[in-house]
Symmetry: D2
Subunit: 349 residues, 4 copies
């Protein structure tokens, strides 16, 4: 049985509100029935009104971006961090001291192992004592721990799509964990608002390429979560690509089955109560268009022969892959209806 | 003072639910707090589940498209028609007889003058006795008549953007009505779901062109409404163009001022209480991105010299230009909060 | 030593000139220094001037599309067939009888094994006696046989990109042929000019999805060519995807290495004299933009660990994947400079 | 009679070769049969190989970008300047002293009147003594003077499209020069390679807006050329817009006719010998797709009523609007076939 649903309003702060994950948080939070946006910070846009920088917010969010150095969080029940790697670990103590709970959309608290983090991100971790406390904010895996968490490490976009595609198989010990190939494709909003000339419309249109080899940062994140469900150390090959689309992540996972199973039943069973995971009919094909601006992850399974499996998984990288999942976590943490403020349907056309 | 706000749920039917205006209606109606979608018809998709044809609706609208010949509207408080020209005038009597009120998104009831309609649409009008009763559903002009209307003729997409840009000037008799140039640009969703190979991604990408001269059908609609505010017959030159974008209408209106005025004050004054018209700062530039998927029309005014005016006006052609405006009209007709179900913000990125 | 280069002009016919491969042939052939386009046929556009249907040809190709039933090829040295599957096998005898050599861009003569063809294409082959004579027109593999061929089966777009990426490894027996995963992504021009509403701009923009499982037709074509270089029957998993781009194929091939090698040297060595295969620096990333409208295939190799290889290969699906490769074959067949008429560089921006 | 055609090769330098106009020059020049690219400079990319920065040039242009401070032009017959405003006027004396002729793609020498230039560009002109010598490089207007010019001021992209649309009417004194409205739309490559986050793919996709009012710099350029053909000072309203396309300029010109004429005959007559101006059938609609990557300007004329004219004119902003027109000028200056190296057809799809 679910706990009773709260209707208490919550005050939130958003740190790093002018990056793409930050704007998306603001877009969703400003229409959330029980949220008041108390404070929004941005280094680059400090002093300007949100709706002047982003005219889509005119009439909906006409407060100024605050300089991060001037911000206080005493009024906040919850603070979202949508900052580049390495910022959250510097700010976290101050925020927690103010009494607010924290959802960090950056990678600072996603790893349990400090050495791995420092190796992947190439710097010393400044708040490593919080790594064990932080809860990896994938509700489909850690919902109960999320409810009571003080600090959520919101998952990366690629890991969200990949892990939701893998979870049922890992839990059922149905695949060889040493041979997992994750072929991912992302829209260009993943590169962020500070992206350079390669990501100009004039250069990105009609272009598709891989990047990130030999080891994209999200690979370690995916491996950590696979490890938690597998006895042997996994062998993951993760190859990200960029497509000429603003939003969307499409993941094609190639796997070796350990045995025959009713794969469709396995997935339907695992996710039957999940509000934001949709298992398509067996052997169908999800597309990124039909999750655009929504918090849904759509998944389908194919068994092209006796030994191989293919799993497709799609999300909107900025919603289920960032801001939407963060709000889902917020709803869980504060006892609200889990889908509150996240009901927008993708548009077609 | 506004009338008291109703909270009574309403049952609606959507005729022609598988075209682009129809799907957009379904997208917005399925998230409207007080609407139940009773019936959706489609000739081409009859018998199929809405969410099978359009997977974005999975879990949100899992009812079948009904064959129009089998549909009844006795349970409906309101029926939307999102059909090609010439269908509504055939179906209207049956629907009205069922007791439902009607919002017709097609052009069948937009003209007061039967001859003009027959000339523009090239066929005989089969329900001309309703032309005088039908209310042109532009809330910013006819809100009071909309409240009590039985039949709404929902405006065309180009006319909505153009007329909202022109209304303050026409009411103030501030421009020469004989020299109005309306240069409009539309996204390709305007061409509809049955569009041919010219509208394939492979041919539309990187293409921009004008069309519709010497006299696009929407010109007569614009002229009728200008006439209603002008003593002299207007001289309108309307040139529509297509751009490689899914959504959006951008209108550039060139005008001759009759006198000097505080143009910004004129616009702010006219639209101060309007929930869906946003006047940008003087001499700024609205873009279509920042109204995408929203019901807002953004307008700005420029006075580049003593005698000329330029007005820019942008909308999402499928929302304020079609389905969103229809729902705004529904809210007015049924005494609901006017913006109910229409609060979605445009996304950036 | 290369044979002496011919400068004799050649007369060509193009059957199916109004499809995307056909138009691309016309675009390239009309600027080829030694080609005269004698006849262009099209069922759908018969009687219309090429440059009326496709205004980009104004002043360059102002001849009419001929009805296929009225066309004769007596004046042609060479006839290109750019027709749907099943047409070439019906027309081939008539054309060969006229004395013309033939390059068939469709799949009708790509398979050596009639049973496989009939299984894959679901119909009886009507010219199976020519299957053994037809030469698979991949110059990097069969150049010498192409020189003297009467009938060329021009390779499919996906197979071209995949096979050029695989050839050096197969020839060196350096990979396990039972575990080849080919993850391909194509632009939407691959769907053709008769594609339906799914490929409208309004529905394709911002969409990415897989398709074609469990067994796309091109898989058998890839397998046939791998077989010719491998002792054991290969195990190929081929998964095509569609991206929101007009042109381009990007192939990511996952392989198991049998041993350690200097992979870069292997590729450089194999393709050192090839005019249209470009091996990028080791561990770099080709993009589709930088082969757009050109006949070049760019390839790079990655060895992320001891046992796995990743090969990236990109082409323009309509040039090296269709019309450009056909013209490369024509140049070889007629003793012309192999790159004649194929020197256009991709544009950026 | 045309002068005899030269076949003497020419050595060229390109200053500012890493901007969009510069790259486009390199793309076209590297395939020009009689051109050797001697020197390419770039401040930002100095020291790097052209084909490393822009992989599309691999095998075609593998020379380094030279630091502008180290470049000499003694070997050059011709130097192209593709630099931001204000650079050419500083470098011009040094280059001319080396004996090279010059085509400046920037605005530095486009104005005859120094005061106008200084007013529009907001700085002092440092080589104003050359303003009267410089020839405005619009071949359709100044071909004879271009032949012998030492210094060409290559026209801006918007002015090229607008002026080619206006020339026949101005020469025939057929329109009221005081009421010229030029509504232009450009692709985003016009914003250049150093454009900021507004021009990222993630923000530009699905966006359309006007900009540049009250007075874009190209307005003065257009006015100067109209003046040269008109007795009275013209009244020009020029409104540029940006569309989500890489390339293309589409111009819609609204005019008042002084009298009735056979407009189509006027245009056909004016441009009958022009290799790069194509007059479409009366009342048709040119699109930007069908001039993409080509040097052609396509024009059509509409006379919607007795007194008004509409002229549509489309070009590729980087070809006829910049690099292609520069090469056309080069061909004229050096007595080459005027269309040499400029025969590429636009691609569809």
């Amino acid at each position: 049985m679910n706990p009773p649903v709260s209707t208490t309003p919550i005050n939130v702060g958003v740190i790093g509100g002018a990056g793409y994950a930050g704007i998306e948080l603001l877009r969703l939070l400003s229409r959330h029935p029980l949220v008041t946006i108390d404070t929004v910070t941005s280094q680059s846009e400090a002093g300007r009104i949100v709706s002047e920088v982003f005219p889509g917010f005119r009439g909906a969010l006409d407060i100024p971006f605050v300089d991060p150095r001037d911000a206080t969080y005493d009024q906040c029940d919850l603070v979202f961090l949508a900052t580049p790697p390495g910022v959250a670990m510097k700010e976290i103590h101050l925020i927690l001291k103010s009494g607010a709970r924290v959802i960090d959309l950056s990678a600072d608290f996603r790893f349990k192992n400090q050495d791995v983090w420092e190796d992947v991100y190439g710097k010393k971790h400044l708040a490593s004592e919080l790594l064990s406390e932080a809860v990896y904010g994938l509700p489909e895996r850690y919902r109960e721990r999320i409810r009571t968490a003080r600090l959520i490490a919101n998952p990366g976009c690629y890991p969200t799509a990949a892990l939701l595609g893998l979870l049922p198989l890992l839990k059922a010990d149905a695949i060889n964990p040493e041979r997992i190939i994750i072929n991912s494709v992302s829209g260009l909003s993943g590169a962020g608002r500070a992206a350079g000339s390669r990501f100009l419309f004039a250069e990105s249109q009609e272009s598709f390429k891989a990047y990130g080899l030999p080891r994209h940062r999200h690979q370690a994140e995916i491996e950590q979560e696979i490890c938690s469900l597998s006895e042997r150390p996994p062998g993951v090959l993760f190859v990200p690509h960029l497509m000429p689309s603003v939003r969307g992540i499409h993941t094609t996972i190639y796997l070796e089955a350990k045995r025959k199973m009713d794969w469709q039943a396995l997935y339907l069973d695992e996710y039957q109560d999940e509000p934001f995971v949709d298992i398509l009919p067996f052997a169908s094909f999800p597309d990124t268009r039909n999750v655009r601006t929504s918090n849904v992850c759509r998944i389908s399974v194919h068994a092209p022969n006796q030994t191989q499996l293919i799993v497709f998984s799609v999300i909107d990288n900025l919603v289920k892959g960032a801001a939407g999942q963060a709000i889902q976590n917020m709803n869980i943490m504060f006892g609200l209806e889990e889908g509150m403020g996240l009901q927008q349907l993708p548009s077609l056309p």
